[in-house]
């Protein structure tokens, strides 16, 4: 007897929705095995990792707080991913968005204008778009692979942030810490629920999900991007511009990542530091795929990913595990998802080996 993978007559829709759940299940299972290997009780580990973070309403609010930048980045990226535009650099676009938006706030420090916050958000989006425009230009003008260029720009963005907070933008009264001044209250996003840190960025993120859904399912441009992604020749045959797909795909990802960046700076962090993002831009790619590139799916998968971040912190605190354990879980989730996705197109079957 041996296992044979047979191509399905058509891809299974059911499996494509079940596959993320299967991946999550397998991630739980192997996570518990991992705890066992590390000498911890798997049941205890599971509780600490996945249940403790949500044991009170503050925890639930933190979950939404952390899911917000993931939602924003993932919905922006999914627009490009649907059109086979592979923006790997959301992390860098997030950082530049944080810099441009945050820079604006620092420049107008003390202003009481009602326009300050909206302009910061717009500036954040613009910053992300500028950073995303570089790989878009290189791809459409020189056919340079955007996977490489957008990824390399992440490292450049990190160095730019580092240089600014160590140098010109360093808070003079900050005891030489590499960080800027704290943003004023007028430049900080209003809290939604008293006693929590959840702010209006969540509303923006939910709005982005709705806008993303409309763009992908109702707009002609979204349809053109889908065609470009699935059958390039058909797009050319119909006269849809492939370059425009690249530009829109990259800019959508950049804009949303930039908003995520400024929302962190004007939200829970309150200033620009070297640690604006614990890899939200990268994790958002996993979020987008686990959410099947659909805004509804992304809503749930960003909550899951936020839970992994929080579980990592808890594991550090209560299990004495390094916080990078959450990266291990992220990796396992993606790994199992890619594995489970094989079943969308193939059906396993046990067959008797022929002589």
């Amino acid at each position: 007897m041996w296992l044979k993978f047979e191509q399905r007559a058509e891809p299974s829709k059911v499996i494509s929705y079940l596959s993320p759940l299967l991946a999550v299940g397998l991630m739980f299972l192997s996570g518990m095995i991992l705890f066992l290997i590390l000498g911890k009780s798997p049941v205890e580990g599971f509780k600490v990792f996945f249940l403790y973070p949500l044991k009170d309403s503050y925890g639930v609010a933190e979950l939404f707080l952390k899911a917000t930048p993931l939602m924003l980045c993932a919905v922006g990226l999914s627009v490009g991913f649907k059109a086979n535009v592979w923006n790997i650099g959301a992390e860098g676009q997030l950082l530049i968005g944080a810099l441009v938006g945050g820079g604006l706030a620092l420049h107008f420090d003390g202003s009481n204008s009602l326009f300050l916050l909206p302009s910061m958000i717009l500036a954040g989006a613009l910053g992300g778009m500028i950073w995303a425009a570089i790989p878009a230009y290189l791809r459409t003008r020189f056919n340079a692979n955007e996977i490489l260029t957008s990824l390399m720009l992440v490292y450049i963005a990190e160095l730019v942030v580092s240089w600014l907070v160590h140098g010109p933008w360093k808070d003079p009264d900050g005891f030489n810490f590499p960080q800027t001044k704290l943003l004023s209250a007028q430049a900080t996003l209003p809290i939604l629920l008293a006693g929590t840190r959840v702010n209006t960025a969540l509303v923006i993120a939910l709005g982005a999900l709705v806008a993303g859904w409309i763009f992908m399912n109702k707009s002609f441009m979204g349809y053109q991007m889908k065609v470009a992604g699935q059958a390039e020749q058909a797009g050319r045959y119909a006269g849809f511009s492939a370059k425009r797909s690249v530009w829109i795909g990259m800019l959508a990802g950049g804009a949303m990542a930039g908003v995520a960046g400024i929302a962190e700076v004007a939200g829970p962090i309150g200033q620009i530091t070297e640690h604006i993002s614990p890899g939200y831009g990268f994790a958002a790619m996993i979020v987008a795929f686990v959410g099947r590139l659909s805004p509804i799916g992304i809503f749930f998968s960003s909550l899951l990913m936020a839970l992994l971040y929080m579980g990592g912190e808890q594991a550090q605190q209560y299990l004495a595990l390094p916080s990078s354990i959450s990266k291990v879980f992220q990796g396992m989730l993606l790994f199992f998802l890619l594995g489970s996705d094989v079943f969308i197109n193939f059906r396993p079957r046990l067959v008797r080996r022929r002589k």
Partner: protein
């Protein structure tokens, strides 16, 4: 006829059955080929011919049934084993490396030592003996399609096959080249080689084959001796009913010029493509113009220049309805009233994983399906339902994925989608390629009706019979240039066939003097 009448067949199939997830491709097929016999396997596309040949050649394994080779029961697990038994196959789509020479290509398929000079000599011997001229030192990409086919055949013959399988071998040949091929095949048969000849062209089978097995929907529907049949009786076996006939209206004196190509020259970027040279052509409302030619002579490049998929630097070279469009993209040309049915259906004419409704939107979105950038799905769906009903597209409904349709049904859908946009100019590539006989005749009749209602139609096809059936005028493309046009009734297959090899009389400027009715 076979020179000897031996008692046991060279190859016998008994009850071959092959099931795919969605279709039974072969259902209990029996077939016997005698030594020295040219045996036709006749059937429409999708009848199961190719599957059966792949079973014989070891590309796929049958689920049930027996293969008897010279009376001995065998299994053919792979093509190498098939070649060892003495089975050779020439595929419809050649498997040659373009950047290698003929002899290098042959050497790759021949087991044993790699001795190119000796092999070259053997190629020359075989090529001389069977009238298949080809120079072993030439690079494959520089060969014509007919020459490539000869290389494939020679490659098979070098292994001294006792059974040669040819899959639709004439679809890439001029009528003259077909005649040469037939001579070669007859010579092989007299030497005792059995030949399985797959085709849907009834006249060829009648001329060449000693026996025929007819398939329909994966089953054998009859065996016959082609010389004792008429194309009509064989067609009935093949499609289960009489061949429909198209009715052709009177030729029109020609209305306004809808497509004008003026001195179009275009160098292709594809290293193996064909450069277009000084092409002139006019298509008027109310006429069907056909472009004949052996594939690979610039048809693809010309179509892309007309459709706008490859915009040109020179905007004068292509004009539609009086507007210079050479530099415009396909969407803007469509806005002027052009519609286009490409040769590849899946992936170009339709997006495989999108529904039929979504595929309607691909080109028909101008028909009231957009509202300030948003899609009116209801309108698109009604259009799809209409198209499915009017063109008798067999499918699960407007929500079926394009790739779930058979080739012929998808073609009807795409043709329908383009026609329902009421084009002023309709361009079609291989409109009935791979479509069954009934559907082809329906598509041809639809084109004729459209012509009668004043549409200008340009058809590029490799099927000469089709062009002669529907076109008012025929031009020939060869090596990237276009011949003068001929009124269909004043020419014949013989002349057009001659032109297809690039030999037409130089009459001053080629192309398109105002045509005489």
């Amino acid at each position: 006829m076979p020179t000897q009448t031996p008692d046991k067949p060279r190859l016998a199939l008994k009850g071959i059955r092959k099931v795919y997830p969605s279709v039974v491709a072969n259902d209990g097929i029996d077939l016997a080929v005698m030594p020295g016999e040219i045996h036709a396997v006749l059937g429409e596309n999708g009848a199961g011919k190719s599957t059966l040949m792949k079973v014989i050649y070891g590309v796929i394994r049958p689920d049930e049934g027996q293969i008897l080779w010279e009376g001995r029961r065998v299994t053919v697990p792979n093509p190498a084993q098939a070649r060892e038994l003495g089975i050779g196959m020439v595929f419809q789509h050649f498997s040659l490396f373009e950047t290698l020479t003929v002899v290098q290509n042959v050497a790759l398929a021949i087991p044993g030592e790699f001795d190119l000079p000796a092999l070259s000599q053997r190629i020359e011997e075989v090529s001389e003996r069977y009238g298949l001229p080809v120079d072993p030192r030439r690079l494959v990409h520089a060969l014509s399609v007919g020459e490539r086919q000869r290389v494939e055949i020679i490659r098979c013959l070098l292994q001294n096959p006792r059974l040669l399988i040819l899959d639709e071998p004439t679809s890439v040949l001029t009528p003259q080249a077909v005649r040469k091929l037939f001579e070669t095949l007859r010579q092989l048969a007299t030497e005792g080689v059995s030949i399985l000849y797959i085709s849907h062209k009834l006249d060829e089978i009648q001329e060449l084959c000693h026996a025929a097995t007819v398939l329909r929907n994966g089953r054998v529907t009859g065996t016959c001796t082609p010389s004792q049949e008429t194309p009509k009786t064989m067609a009935r076996m093949m499609i289960g009913e009489d061949l429909p006939v198209c009715s052709h209206g009177e030729p029109d004196d020609g209305g306004e010029v809808r497509l004008r190509i003026v001195g179009l020259s275009h160098a292709t970027e594809d290293p193996f493509g064909t450069d277009l040279r000084n092409i002139h052509l006019e298509v008027r409302s109310g006429e069907i113009v056909g472009i004949a030619g052996v594939s690979g002579n610039g048809q693809q490049e010309l179509l892309k220049a007309i459709s706008g998929e490859e915009p040109l630097a020179d905007k004068h070279a292509v004009q539609m309805c009086g507007v210079k469009v050479g530099h415009l993209n396909p969407a803007r040309r469509r806005a002027l009233g052009m519609c286009f049915v490409p040769e590849e259906r899946l992936g170009r004419g339709a997006v495989p994983r999108l529904s039929l409704t979504e595929n309607i939107l691909l080109t028909a979105y101008r028909k009231g399906m957009l509202f300030s950038g948003l899609i009116r799905w209801g309108v698109a769906k009604r259009f799809a339902e209409d198209c499915i009903a009017r063109f008798d597209v067999k499918c699960g409904g407007p929500n079926s994925e394009a790739k779930s349709l058979s080739g012929g049904n998808l073609q009807k859908f795409i043709v329908g989608r383009e026609i329902m946009q009421e084009p002023k100019l309709l361009v079609l590539a291989q409109p009935t390629w791979g479509v069954d006989v009934g559907a082809s005749s329906f598509i041809r009749q639809t084109l004729l009706d459209l012509r009668n209602s004043g549409t200008a139609i340009l058809v590029i096809s490799e099927e000469l019979e089709e062009l002669f059936e529907i076109c008012d005028r025929i031009v020939v493309i060869a090596k990237g240039t276009l011949s003068p046009s001929k009124v269909t009734s004043k020419t014949g297959v013989e002349e057009i066939g001659m032109w297809m090899s690039g030999m037409w009389p130089e009459t001053g400027t080629s192309g398109d003097a105002p045509h005489v009715a």
